[in-house]
Symmetry: C2
Subunit: 192 residues, 2 copies
């Protein structure tokens, strides 16, 4: 029997470092992404790290790119397969609401918008999602200006919810209550 989470004596690849970095970002934020700390967590030393990456920045960029790439095919591609436009938005809401785990990185990145490296990534991701929401609302029957504003409102509500529940603890909404909240969002934001 091995000691817990330590004795994986296999060699590491750049990918290992990247996913470890993303996990650390999700748990402790971008600011906590330190080379030596990550190395300790992986059971190696900096010597390993600087073989795979030229610098700390390089790791951050690689991790961000990996996350962005994954997010590409995460939700949007799945939702786009729903043919009936009127079913799309409620389904999107419910699906996003029940996959809170992949949003941890996004929430952490929101808190790191002072780092110049994350701004372009977040700008691209948010922009794509906004456009997706906007067209979805248009297809649901809203006029273009209304659709854009409703998309803004919806996305802001999503972002704000992440902040208020992941990072801030607030009265820690429970499960049934959360379901009711999601349905309330659907009823309020999606045109009948």
């Amino acid at each position: 029997m091995n000691v817990s989470t330590k004795p994986e004596r296999t060699r590491l690849s750049a990918e290992n470092w990247e996913v470890a970095a993303l996990q650390l970002i999700a748990e402790q934020g971008v600011g906590a992404l330190a080379v030596e700390a990550l190395a300790r967590q992986l059971g190696v030393t900096k010597g390993s790290f600087y073989w795979h990456f030229r610098t700390r920045e390089a790791l951050l960029n690689a991790a961000l790119e990996r996350w962005e790439q994954y997010g590409e095919r995460e939700v949007i591609n799945e939702i786009e397969q729903i043919t009936d436009p009127r079913k799309r938005l409620p389904e999107l809401f419910r699906r996003v609401a029940h996959e809170l785990q992949p949003h941890r990185v996004y929430a952490a990145l929101l808190k790191a918008l002072d780092h110049p490296q994350v701004v372009p990534v977040m700008a691209r991701v948010s922009q794509r999602r906004m456009e997706f929401l906007t067209t979805a609302y248009r297809e649901a029957g809203l006029a273009p200006p209304q659709a854009l504003n409703r998309a803004r409102l919806t996305y802001a509500a999503y972002v704000g919810f992440l902040q208020l529940n992941f990072t801030l603890g607030l009265p820690r909404i429970n499960h049934e209550e959360f379901e009711a909240y999601v349905e309330h969002m659907i009823a309020t934001l999606i045109p009948a």
Copy 2:
């Protein structure tokens, strides 16, 4: 004529440090709150700082407390004077929308929810605002559960908007467009 913003050769008080800290937080975030940097900005050295405060943490706490105290009588007390409950929410929306400046600190603090010192402060502030919103929605005619969820939605939209516009730059919404967005929020979130 004196050189710009430098030659205030008056002695400093703890209060001076606190407001300077808040300004720096609003502009560059909690992470940028460094003792020596602040001292340079105030035209003194660390020697001064460590006379007024025992540690950097102490300054942060003092600054946060000052901000929380001020926020107490900031908006809520003004709005509560509006007698007609149905006029209250639209007025609140419009007023908050046009005073984006005082929200800079709040936006900066949202990005610092990993620091254990800011969490309780933000929890209290957000909790108070949420309760205010909830009763406002009840007085506007919503049933208690609906009112609570609508308050959650509204406040999340507010928080998210701060994130997406202050820190992230997104297509930088302009003035008329912003007005239209606010009216859209009012029409969507406030019951007729």
